[in-house]
């Protein structure tokens, strides 16, 4: 039965190479591993590997089990309790634990590296700077998936986004449930995917290069004079009551939509 997970091949060096039956099984189990790290408060281990769309997608599916109040989902939640050794905890307790973990870790601007205890051979070669704030992305994911309209500290959020790999935001971790209203985006942005972001009453200035605001909530936002949008996609965005601030006066905002 266990061959359902692995198959083993002899290598030229007489070592045994272990393969999973399908790559998606690795990605699914990695999603479970990330969740287990959250439950065990071992977030530093999440920073040992790169985040991928597929793994995050599976993790979102697991979080949906924790969030969902549908009766039938509880069957799976019971199994989850068993498989993650959560003993007698109910959904509310589990959610609370994860949300507390997420808020604490998101707010702290720090990198985490696991202790070198032999768990990862050749650890110095594995640790990559680009992954060292993955735990904060997981925190964002937890907040986005377990809460509705959570008012995140938008200043901290955009500082964090700018400081990390922009390919993660929007492409891997989505933020459609976070409340980012009244954000100060006067430093501009690069090729970030802010599709579906709730950015009403925000202030924009500086240069925006390839930023995606597809379906974003931008109502009542201010676009200061001199703001540049190059290759920016506003398709489906709500720009109602947005305006350009022109020498202290208001004028009608004109934008070209990329369809």
């Amino acid at each position: 039965m266990i061959s359902s997970y692995f198959y083993i091949q002899e290598t030229k060096k007489n070592a045994q190479r272990i393969d999973f039956i399908h790559r998606s099984f690795i990605e699914y189990l990695l999603a479970e591993y990330y969740l287990e790290c959250c439950f065990r408060n071992q977030l530093s281990k999440i920073n040992m590997s790169i985040l991928t769309l597929e793994t995050i997608s599976f993790l979102e599916g697991l979080l949906y089990l924790i969030k969902s109040e549908k009766v039938d989902k509880n069957q799976y939640f019971e199994k989850m309790i068993e498989t993650f050794d959560l003993e007698e905890r109910n959904k509310m307790d589990v959610r609370k634990q994860l949300i507390n973990l997420a808020t604490n870790n998101f707010e702290k601007n720090q990198v985490l590296i696991p202790e070198d205890n032999g768990e990862y051979p050749q650890m110095a070669k594995i640790v990559k700077q680009i992954n060292l704030q993955n735990h904060r992305w997981i925190a964002v994911l937890l907040l986005n998936k377990l809460l509705d309209n959570y008012k995140i500290d938008n200043k901290t959020f955009f500082e964090f986004v700018r400081s990390t790999n922009n390919s993660i935001l929007g492409n891997i971790v989505t933020i459609e449930n976070l409340n980012l209203s009244r954000s100060d985006l006067t430093k501009g942005l690069g090729n970030y995917n802010l599709s579906g972001a709730k950015l009403s009453h925000s202030t924009f200035h500086g240069g925006y290069y390839g930023t995606k605001f597809i379906g974003a909530e931008l109502s009542f936002s201010k676009f200061e004079r001199g703001t540049k949008f190059i290759g920016v996609d506003f398709s489906g965005a709500n720009l109602s009551n947005s305006h350009v601030v022109l020498k202290g006066e208001f004028s009608i905002f004109i934008a070209f939509y990329k369809l």
Partner: protein, 496 residues
């Protein structure tokens, strides 16, 4: 069976009881080398008695070189000589060369010279070649024909060796269709259902399958691609659609054709990119090693499978340059690259169009379950909660069929609200739990199951980080440090 023996230069008699295909193999392979036309007959002439007797006189006149092969060491040397004498009762034909060779599985030197009045000579201490398989035997025959100046065109020895290695590689490609499905041990050739493929525009790259139907698509076939002027095409699909099986099928089909027509057939090279370019077959040969067997003017199809597994971004740029370089070097070559729909791929390959592999439609899903002998229909699955794009994934059909066999109808219950995460959750949960339930009398299986899941997750993480350099030793070292309560021998149980 009648043979036109004019033009034959080598007459080969062999004895081979076990392998009836040797006759055909030898004829085909020797002929394919060029310059050597051979006539292969069974040493027990009764098996080809009519042909042989009718042609004997003509053979004596036309054939330059007679070779008797005792392939299985089944006959003693004297038996072979007797056979020869019976075949040619009037002795050695005038001006002809006769050689009896004990081609055998083990080298056996002759102790004394044999000579008879017919002119048949077997020299003392003659090196008796040995061979391990048909390819080697053919190699030896060809070499012998050169040494006796029989071959009209002397092919460099290395070329023959290369071609023999190429034949072996093609046989490997052909065997890819015999790959076993690791989930249920079924053989691909028995279960394979081809996906529909369409040529689509770059704009649809990031769209799910159910959303791309709004765009115009042209059906795509490999036959058309091999005929048109395109040098390469990217085949994109999400995970579980069957990209790897598609690449196996393609390589196997082309290899079958190439083996039938070695000199002009299109040569497939299947390159699993998870090994970068270092391992393209079960012998551990690299892509460069296989390419060294192929003349530059030959038609070649590079099948790069799983570009998304090639490595990190800095490596993928190198790959594109490498691929283009190979296409330039082999002017009659083409390339197919299969990949997941990662957002950077279209720009990296500079493409405006690509081939989208589609999930199964309802009839394909139903055919899948029919092949697996499961009384499920696509209409039932659609009630389970899985999305349209997910139901059509062969991987998911496969997982559902496993669950269905275990739990029967529950898996397609309307109330289940199955999604893809839950499908993986269920499959892994049921397999692990099912395994331990069988042994539940011996220990607390819940605890054991819990530990096994932890080990599985850890191995998945290590596999993700270390890729193909992950070995059992690495896992053992890592597992030791996780938690004292995870027993070392758990891993041993898990992978044994």
């Amino acid at each position: 069976m009648r043979y036109n023996i004019r033009g034959f230069k080598v007459f080969i008699c062999y004895r081979e009881d076990a392998n009836g295909s040797l006759y055909a193999e030898l004829t085909k392979l020797i002929l394919s080398k060029g310059g050597v036309n051979s006539f292969v007959a069974h040493i027990e002439r009764s098996k080809h008695a009519e042909d042989f007797d009718k042609m004997r006189q003509e053979l004596l006149q036309i054939v330059d070189f007679f070779l008797f092969i005792n392939t299985e060491d089944a006959l003693s040397r004297s038996d072979v000589i007797n056979e020869f004498k019976m075949a040619f009762p009037n002795g050695k034909p005038e001006g002809k060369r006769l050689i009896i060779i004990h081609f055998g599985k083990e080298p056996r030197p002759t102790n004394k010279e044999f000579k008879d009045k017919t002119g048949l000579v077997i020299p003392k201490n003659m090196n008796i070649p040995s061979f391990q398989d048909e390819d080697e035997l053919v190699d030896l025959i060809i070499n012998l024909s050169w040494s006796y100046r029989i071959a009209s065109v002397k092919i460099p020895r290395n070329s023959v060796k290369k071609e023999l290695r190429l034949v072996k590689y093609l046989k490997y490609c052909f065997s890819l269709l015999e790959t076993r499905n690791k989930l249920d041990n079924s053989i691909l050739a028995d279960m394979y259902i081809p996906n529909n493929c369409v040529e689509s525009i770059k704009k649809t790259w990031n769209l799910d399958e159910d959303k791309i139907s709004n765009y115009y698509h042209k059906p795509w076939t490999i036959e058309e691609f091999l005929k048109n002027n395109d040098r390469y095409i990217v085949v994109g699909a999400s995970y579980g659609i069957g990209k790897t099986y598609f690449s196996y099928k393609l390589a196997s089909d082309l290899a079958a054709k190439a083996l039938k027509n070695l000199s002009t057939g299109s040569i497939p090279i299947h390159i699993p990119l998870r090994f970068q370019l270092n391992k393209v077959d079960n012998k551990g040969n690299s892509l460069e090693s296989i390419l060294s067997l192929i003349p530059r003017q030959r038609k070649v199809l590079f099948i790069y499978d799983g570009f998304d597994e090639f490595g990190e971004a800095n490596r993928t740029n190198i790959f594109y340059k490498y691929m283009q370089n190979k296409l330039r070097k082999y002017p009659n070559s083409k390339a197919i690259i299969t990949t997941r729909l990662n957002s950077n791929v279209p720009d990296l390959f500079n493409i405006d169009t690509y081939v989208r592999m589609l999930p199964f439609d309802n009839s394909q899903i139903n055919l899948f379950f029919k092949k697996y002998r499961i009384s499920l229909r696509s209409e039932k699955i659609s009630k389970s909660g899985l999305g349209l794009n997910e139901i059509g994934k062969p991987l998911f059909c496969n997982m559902i069929s496993i669950l269905y066999k275990q739990k029967k109808r529950r898996v397609v219950s309307k109330k289940l609200f199955l999604n893809r995460t839950l499908l993986f959750f269920e499959v892994i949960h049921s397999v692990v739990l099912g395994k331990h339930e069988k042994e539940a009398d011996n220990y607390s299986y819940t605890k054991h199951h819990l530990n096994e899941k932890r080990v599985l997750r850890k191995i998945a993480e290590l596999k993700f980080i270390f890729g193909d350099s992950l070995t059992r030793t690495t896992i053992n070292n890592s597992i030791k440090t996780i938690q004292p309560k995870i027993k070392n021998n758990l891993l041993k149980h898990s992978i044994n």
